[in-house]
Point group: C2
Amino acid sequence: MESPMSSKVIELPSLEALGTRLAAMDTVDPASAKGRLLQTAAHLFHVRGFDRTTVRDLASAVGIQSGSIFHHFKNKDEILEAVMHDTIVFNTRLVIDALRASASLQDQLLALIRCELESINGVTGEAMNVLVFEWRNLPEDKQSRILKLRDIYESLWLGVISEACREGLLRGEPFVIRRLLTGALSWTSTWYRKDGGLSVAQLAEQVLQMVICQPVPRA
Amino acid sequence: MESPMSSKVIELPSLEALGTRLAAMDTVDPASAKGRLLQTAAHLFHVRGFDRTTVRDLASAVGIQSGSIFHHFKNKDEILEAVMHDTIVFNTRLVIDALRASASLQDQLLALIRCELESINGVTGEAMNVLVFEWRNLPEDKQSRILKLRDIYESLWLGVISEACREGLLRGEPFVIRRLLTGALSWTSTWYRKDGGLSVAQLAEQVLQMVICQPVPRA
DNA sequence: GTCTATAGAAGGATAGAC
DNA sequence: GTCTATCCTTCTATAGAC
């Protein structure tokens, strides 16, 4: 039951260094023609799925002809890659900022949960869902590029969870806890609605309360 | 934060009546030509996705020609529907049996978690993953038929969770708890491996321990 | 940066023989 | 229950004009 990794101490990476690294990555300007194309693509890939969205669908949704798409992207796969890349960079930046602003370990944990819920159910929700649920449609060589970014994001989660386990705030194997949470949080896109009487912050609190051992009462 | 439904008492349906109802539903004989077709379809739909699996792929995987598929199914969608239908019926039967064999409320909760993990990671794993992750590829009229079966399955979960909330074993809104668990458990198919040193029963215990309030020590 | 026109490939489904 | 042959549609991607 005990993973061989559980004895190794996992450290939270330097937030300053990561912040600098993420700031240096470039993403498509959302106001440009290419940027509007990406937002529309994220929307269509989310509601219909990547396979069932044709370049004709995408073109007509932004008001151009299908051939014009290929001025911006070499092929359809590249559109998917760009959606995923820009989304993960954007949300990793948010997480780094939120962790920097958190005073305690429990606050960091809550910040991670809240950020992930926000990324999945907020303005980047459609793109995040594409990242999670259309993963297998990305060709392998393009997967590896995105995986490097995902590793950075995951290292933040694992750093905080591991420390929380050492402090007795969480119980169990950090990798297992993270994966259970990944599933629970990403699945919220299928049922959670912001106008349903439960705010993202409240939902985040409920998730935190469900998993921590000795909940510290909050103001 | 409080849902208007939380005041209504949700009861666990009669297991005897449901058992009889489920026994009456007919499913395809796995040993028949059609049954082998369904198993192969579940496999291919799982690894490649429904859209990227062609009827030619499926035909050659079972060793027949593509035209022969349409002797068994009117169209490709019907294959997907049959995979989903038979899987949910099969697993609902297992859950009913497991609940009947559980002595305490905590045992029932553990049984539900273990059954769902088993259905997702055991012999019906590929078909269950198709049910969860290829849902949107099922045409709407066919969705409603499967949804009726899913409602039965979900009523078992909600009955037990609601009672557990009343007893103080779980904390929070039953619908929210169920949905968080749905995500956490279905996501295990992306990372859990039976040969990784953690059995399904152990994983189920870890999930239970993570969510219950006053864990009762177990033999 | 967008248009028109179209090449070229692949997929779902049918018909009738065996 | 499976085969062969094939129709028809849909889709990605290219080429070259504006």
